[in-house]
C-alpha cells in the first residue's frame, strides 16, 4: 500500500512542479524553434578553424580578409535561408544556381535590352525567380515527381534559357544602387552582409516563432499527420520553392552588383556550398527539423573554409574537398547520434 501512495504523491508533486514553472524560462518559446537543432558541431568546427588560422596565418584576421569571408558567407547565408525552408519541408532544390543566373539575366535584359526603369527591372528579376520556383513546386506536387529529379532537370532548363538569351555575352555597367548593394559598405560593414543578416533575423522569427514556420516543420516531419490536421501540405511545398526562387533572385541581384556583371554561365559552385551550410547547420536532410541560425553558422563555416584553404596556399580546388569533408563529418556525427537514440 505504501509504495502506491508514494507514487501518487510524487506524481502530484511532479504535476505541480511542471505547471508551477512560470518564469521567463517556462513561457519563452524554445530559442531555435519547434525542433531541437544541434549547433555544437558547426560552432566547434568554426572555433577549431579560427584557432588554427590564428596560429598558421595571423593575417587571416585582417579586416580585409574578414570582409572577403563576409561577402562569401552572406551569399551562402542568403540562399541558405531559402534552402533551409525547402529542406525542412522535406524537399531539395538543386536548381538554385540556375534560378540565380536566369533571374539575373532577366533583370539585366529588362534594364539594358528593354530599357525598363531600375525598379521595374528588379521586379522582373524577382518575378522570374518566383516563377522558376513555382515551376519546380508544381511539377513536384502535381506530377508527384521526386524533388531532386525535378530540380536537377530544371537546373538544365533554366540555365539553358539563360544561355539561349544571353549566349556567351556579358552584361556590365550597372547603376550605382546595384553596385552599392553588392559592394557598398555601411560603417565598414559590407552591404550583402547587412542584407543577409536582416533577412536571417526576419526568416528566423517566422521559422521559429510563427505559425507558418511551425507548420512548415510539420509538413516535413510528418506530412500525413499535417494533412489530417487540416494543413495544406501541397500549399506549403509549393510555397517553399517559390520562396526559394525569390531568394535566389535576390542573391542574383546582389551578386550582379558585386561583380558589376551578369554571365549566363556563372554561379555553379554556390549549390554545393549552400546545401553544405544548411546540413552542417543542423537541418535534417530528410525534413522536419531545421534552423535558420544553424544555417547562418554553417554559411560562415563554409566561407571560412574556402578562405582558409586559399590562405594556407593550397590550390583553390581543395576547397571542394574541405567542404565535402565537412558535410560528411556532420552527417556521420548525426547518424551516430540517431542510431544511439534508436537503440
Amino acid at each position: 500500500m505504501t509504495p502506491a501512495t508514494d507514487n501518487m504523491s510524487s506524481a502530484d508533486e511532479r504535476r505541480a512542479a511542471l505547471l508551477g514553472e512560470t518564469g521567463w524560462r517556462a513561457t519563452m518559446p524554445p530559442l531555435l524553434g519547434p525542433t531541437q537543432v544541434p549547433l555544437a558541431a558547426p560552432i566547434a568546427m568554426l572555433a577549431i578553424i579560427a584557432v588554427g588560422m590564428a596560429l598558421a596565418a595571423p593575417n587571416f584576421f585582417a579586416v580585409g580578409n574578414l570582409r572577403a569571408i563576409a561577402l562569401d558567407a552572406s551569399l551562402i547565408m542568403l540562399l541558405g535561408i531559402g534552402m533551409t525552408a525547402v529542406i525542412t519541408a522535406r524537399g531539395i532544390d538543386l536548381s538554385i544556381g540556375a534560378i540565380l543566373t536566369l533571374s539575373s539575366v532577366a533583370f539585366a535584359a529588362a534594364l539594358k535590352d528593354f530599357g525598363l526603369p531600375l525598379w521595374v527591372s528588379i521586379f522582373v528579376g524577382l518575378t522570374v525567380g518566383a516563377l522558376c520556383g513555382l515551376f519546380n513546386g508544381l511539377l513536384i506536387t502535381r506530377l508527384r515527381m521526386p524533388d531532386f529529379i525535378v530540380t536537377l532537370s530544371s537546373e538544365l532548363v533554366f540555365r539553358g534559357l539563360a544561355l539561349v538569351y544571353a549566349g556567351g555575352g556579358v552584361f556590365f555597367g550597372f547603376p550605382e544602387v546595384i553596385t552599392f548593394l553588392g559592394r557598398g559598405r555601411v560603417m565598414g560593414v559590407p552591404m550583402p552582409l547587412i542584407i543577409a543578416l536582416t533577412l536571417v533575423v526576419v526568416a528566423h522569427c517566422i521559422f521559429a516563432y510563427h505559425r507558418v514556420g511551425m507548420r512548415l516543420h510539420a509538413v516535413g516531419g510528418n506530412p500525413t499527420a499535417a494533412k489530417r490536421l487540416g494543413i495544406s501540405v501541397t500549399g506549403y511545398r509549393v510555397g517553399v520553392y517559390v520562396f526559394m526562387g525569390i531568394i535566389a533572385a535576390i542573391g542574383g541581384i546582389i551578386l550582379t552588383g558585386r561583380l558589376d556583371a551578369v554571365v549566363a554561365s556563372g554561379a555553379v559552385t554556390i549549390l554545393l556550398n549552400t546545401v553544405a551550410a544548411v546540413i552542417v547547420g543542423g537541418t535534417h536532410l530528410f525534413g522536419g527539423r531545421g534552423s535558420i541560425i544553424g544555417t547562418l553558422l554553417g554559411a560562415w563555416l563554409l566561407a571560412t573554409i574556402t578562405n582558409a584553404v586559399v590562405m594556407l596556399g593550397f590550390e583553390a580546388f581543395w576547397q571542394h574537398v574541405a567542404a565535402g569533408a565537412v558535410i560528411l563529418i556532420t552527417i556521420a556525427l548525426y547518424s551516430r547520434r540517431n542510431t544511439r537514440a534508436e537503440e
Binding site: 511542471l18 517556462a26 524554445p30 525542433t35 522569427c205 516543420h217 499527420a225 490536421l229 487540416g230
Partner: protein, 241 residues
C-alpha cells in the same frame, strides 16, 4: 448530447463491409466496439470520423445531421479519431504537436508559446498517469506517452466525441493501463468515447456498453453490467447469443 448513427452501409465493390448499422454514443460514456477480423469495425469508425463516405445512412451529432466531406469536417463537428501511428512529428515538442493546426497565436500569427505550454501541461496533468514535461520532443516519449499526447491533442481541439481504433494494441501492459485510465478520465470529463478493441479484458475494464459487429451487421448492443463474457463471445463468433 449524443452521436446517432442510423442505417449506415458501406460496400467495397462486391464486399458489403457494413450494412444497416444503428449505434448511439452518449456524451460521457465509453462504448466498446467488438467483432471478428473483417467484421467492419474500422470501416464504421472511418465513416464516423469523416475519412470514408457511407453509401447510405445518416450521422447526427448533438441533434444536427451531418454529411462529412472529410475528417476536418468531422473534427469541426466535434468528432476526432485517434490514429495509432503517424500522428506525431517526432522532432517537435509535445506542446507543438498538441496545438498543430490550431495554434494559439497573437493576431499576427506569432505563437503564444507560454499559453500553449501551460494549456498542454494542464491537459496532460488532468490525466491520471505519471505526468511528463510537455516540452519534451515527441520522439523521446514512450509508446504510452505518445498515446497520451495524441489524446491530449483531441482534448485541446475541443472534441466532444473521440474514436479510438485499437488504442492499446501496440503498447506494453503498463502503457495499456495508462491509456485505459485516460479513456475513463476523458469520459468523466463528459466526452463520449467509442473504442474498437480485440481485448475483452480492456473492454470490460472501461466500457459502459458494448456493440458487437458480425459480418458487417450489428449483432447486438449490451450494457456491460448486464451481460456476460460468454454472451459477448457468442455474439462475436456466431452473431447471436
Amino acid at each position: 448530447m449524443s452521436v446517432v448513427l442510423s442505417g449506415i452501409a458501406k460496400s467495397y465493390g462486391a464486399v458489403k463491409a457494413i450494412e444497416d448499422i444503428d449505434l448511439t454514443v452518449e456524451a460521457g460514456e465509453v462504448v466498446g466496439v467488438l467483432g471478428d477480423n473483417g467484421a467492419g469495425k474500422s470501416t464504421l469508425m472511418k465513416i464516423l470520423a469523416g475519412a470514408t463516405a457511407p453509401d447510405a445512412g445518416t450521422i447526427m451529432v448533438d441533434g444536427e445531421t451531418y454529411n462529412f466531406a472529410n475528417s476536418s469536417a468531422a473534427r469541426d463537428a466535434g468528432i476526432a479519431m485517434l490514429y495509432q501511428d503517424l500522428a506525431l512529428c517526432d522532432d517537435m515538442s509535445v506542446v507543438h504537436n498538441i496545438f498543430l493546426g490550431r495554434e494559439i497565436t497573437n493576431r499576427f500569427g506569432f505563437l503564444r508559446y507560454g499559453a500553449m505550454r501551460k494549456r498542454a501541461q494542464e491537459i496532460v496533468n488532468s490525466f491520471s498517469v505519471r505526468p511528463f514535461d510537455v516540452r519534451t520532443p515527441s520522439g523521446h516519449l514512450s509508446g504510452g506517452q505518445r498515446q497520451v499526447s495524441a489524446l491530449a491533442r483531441t482534448t485541446a481541439f475541443g472534441s466532444r466525441y473521440i474514436i479510438l481504433d485499437e488504442p492499446t494494441s501496440a503498447l506494453s501492459p503498463s502503457a495499456r493501463d495508462e491509456v485505459l485510465a485516460i479513456v475513463r478520465d476523458l469520459a468523466d470529463q463528459g466526452i463520449g468515447i467509442i473504442m474498437v478493441s480485440h481485448d475483452l479484458g480492456h473492454v470490460r475494464k472501461v466500457c459502459d456498453r458494448v456493440a458487437i459487429l458480425h459480418l458487417g451487421r450489428m449483432a447486438g448492443i449490451r450494457n456491460m453490467a448486464e451481460t456476460s463474457q460468454d454472451e459477448i463471445i457468442s455474439l462475436i463468433v456466431q452473431g447471436h447469443a
